[in-house]
Symmetry: C2
Subunit: 425 residues, 2 copies
């Protein structure tokens, strides 16, 4: 493959994670090693930044800022939810694609890296196909990122290990708190985590049990399995009878057997008369309190579980960084239309992490779920197969420097490069 | 004062904190230094353990377990919500008090330490008065504990510094996450923290701003000030217009000018037809989404904010430990009917922490609120006076040992001492 000389553009997409910036640091630091890569640009707020020709000059950043990205949460370049939606908005998508190539050509972008989840890999795939069609030489590599861990072909997705290290620690800490208050009255605590269709995060909190049956969490509800009131209530009651308390973890997207989301129950109305999405944990709390008369509290981790850098996994962060590096190396070597994937060799205790490549076409729009045989027969807990898989992902701690009692994170200098085009129509 | 020889009983009460066990460790380790203290017992689940003669043998614990209490959250002895309620249940309370002294006499308890908040200090006061009345020589010292920080006379309450270190870090991390996704659509994130009548925890998240106006949190709603929809919405709108996003922190107990709790809005009904307490954050989310049409997400930290040992403040933990030590020293020196308080000397940058004593009668049932002149004129943010007060409380990190990616906390050996009495009637 002939050497391709030109500029690099990197962008971040979708919901941030604790380690999405570690991948960015990997891309930038690796890019600095290759002479064929001239300038390094970052798109402000993902695809929107490209369309708006809103590009951040990475060469103007201090080296210590780039190094600091390895322990800084959220998307340092900014991110967005904007999509090139060829299915629902084909005209807008075609127009956006046209504009995107105008911007790439204007700035001689020859290397494009998109750090994101399912949708972003699909977008990268389309951009790669379009570049081939246009005969515009640009190498496009996807860098995986999602706390949901639902990308196929990769061992795990950067962001996931940190999310479950935080979630499992929180469940463990809340669990011993609730246990220490457990008296004959009985109590229940329900912790809601992210995961609309895949239950990977909820499943990951099983690590808090550390192999002990009696330790919380006692019940983990995954969106992969249908939720049944009666079975669930019986299990809560059995747990409270045995331990005087019960800790439940629920993935936000759990569904009734008819496919309706538990948290999207429409019978609730707010004070304006609108139906309210109560959320899964609140709905379960209602059920437990009404049917079992057991005092119940909820915790809703929300964005904290994807931003809690202070408890990020070093393994996850290192893998995220390695994915960024590998993406650049792959592109320089002549690859395009691929996503970097994480590869695990060895077994528990002596795992070697590496990277590989997988065609973007194999990734786009395929969702990877928790396998049924990684879950107990009764469906209430992931089993040892899952634990073997997940445990290595939370090993090690990312230690951000502290200042006045708070983590000291970095921010990029927002300097933009000069625009060459008319504003986007 | 003549030397008093006998056994020691220590108990933990009410909601746990990240450092309630540090106070317990202080009591135990200091007690070991005094020959007048013979046996050391811990009541299982607070006052309930005393009434049930359910006493844990501290002398049977390993030294490394006791040392580990300094970094272990939740109440290692167990705690309870049970009260000696002389107002509402005078007969039961009198019966309980009788039983309590039976147990103390049966086990020759001469030193009693109760680690707790407002109610517990009141209970300690009553126990002390009762001992005097009965002419039963027993020294009673209260050890402060509450994340709510609402005890009077003490500079701060052990548990508070850790709660706000965790809450401020979370607000900071969620804040930069939300900021990094901020596009022209605008967005709002509302984080609910504990504090039913005092807003100390909510106020403490102002530290996440690190002195920068534009940094989140942009609005902090304290239960001390009446909540007004229109003023609040105007402030949210102004913030979203300026920054494209707005982060709000709300103390759970905020109230309308008529005194009704915002989170206890009764117009909402669940699917069983019962009124639902939506919680303050959910209620504010409804208002923002309905009136401003700004996409809003919530975070509900719940028990995590009092159990998050993994981000506990070393200053707080050391003060908690010092309170336990000081309680024992005070009792051995002949004091009774006192609560240990934390005393601050020096100013920011060179603070010296010490302890003092305050009569339990001065503490019981007095609630300490955030002073009005520590809050901005518009009521939406604590001011520099508050920051000067709070910032030293989050200094330093408690670092628990880690094992397989999770904190490794200790548990007490549950060995009980032999009962000498008939079961409680």
């Amino acid at each position: 493959m002939a050497e391709l000389t030109g500029n690099l553009l990197v962008a971040q997409s979708g919901g941030p994670t604790s380690v999405i910036n570690a991948s960015l640091a990997g891309v930038i630091q690796e890019a600095g090693k290759h002479e064929c890569i001239e300038e390094i640009y970052g798109a402000a707020n993902g695809i929107l930044g490209i369309l708006n020709e809103d590009l951040i000059d990475i060469n103007e950043q201090k080296a210590k800022t780039i190094a600091g990205l390895r322990y800084t949460p959220a998307a340092a370049l900014g991110t967005c939810r904007y999509k090139l939606d060829f299915k629902k908005k084909p005209e807008q998508a075609a127009k956006d694609m046209e504009r995107l190539f105008e911007v790439c050509q204007a700035h001689n972008i020859r290397y494009f890296f998109y750090i994101g989840g399912n949708d972003s890999q699909d977008t990268s795939n389309k951009i790669n196909e379009e570049a081939l069609k246009r005969n515009y030489e640009m190498r496009v590599i996807g860098v995986p990122k999602t706390i949901d861990n639902d990308l196929p072909h990769t061992d795990n997705c950067p962001g996931y290990g940190s999310a479950i290290k935080y979630a499992a620690t929180t469940v463990m800490e809340v669990g011993i708190d609730v246990a220490s208050m457990a008296t004959d009255d009985g109590s229940c605590c329900i912790i809601e985590v992210m995961g609309r269709s895949a239950g990977w995060i909820a499943a990951g909190t099983v690590l808090a049990k550390r192999g002990r049956d009696e330790y919380p969490p006692h019940i983990i509800l995954l969106p992969e399995l249908p939720f049944e009131d009666e079975k669930f209530l019986a299990k809560v009651k059995q747990t409270v009878d045995a331990h005087r308390y019960c800790v439940v973890v629920v993935g936000e997207g759990i569904k009734y057997p008819n496919g309706e989301e538990v948290g999207a129950d429409k019978s609730r109305v707010d004070s304006f008369g609108h139906p309210v999405l109560s959320g899964a944990a609140e709905r379960l709390k209602e059920i437990v309190q009404f049917k079992l008369e057991t005092k119940t509290r909820t915790v809703l981790l929300g964005y904290a579980q994807r931003a809690a850098e202070h408890l990020a996994s070093l393994t996850d962060s290192n893998n995220a960084f390695a994915c960024g590096e590998a993406a650049v190396r792959a592109a320089v070597e002549g690859n395009s239309g691929q996503m970097v994937k994480i590869v695990r060799a060895g077994s528990n205790g002596a795992i070697h992490w590496g990277t590989g490549l997988q065609a973007l076409a194999d990734i786009a729009n395929v969702e990877h779920f928790v396998p049924r045989d990684w879950i107990s027969d009764d469906g209430f807990l992931p089993n040892e197969k899952f634990v073997q898989y997940a445990r290595p992902l939370i090993e090690g701690e990312v230690r951000a420097p502290m200042e006045a009692g708070l983590p000291k994170y970095v921010t990029l200098d927002p300097s933009r490069i000069e625009k060459k085009l008319q504003p986007r129509a």
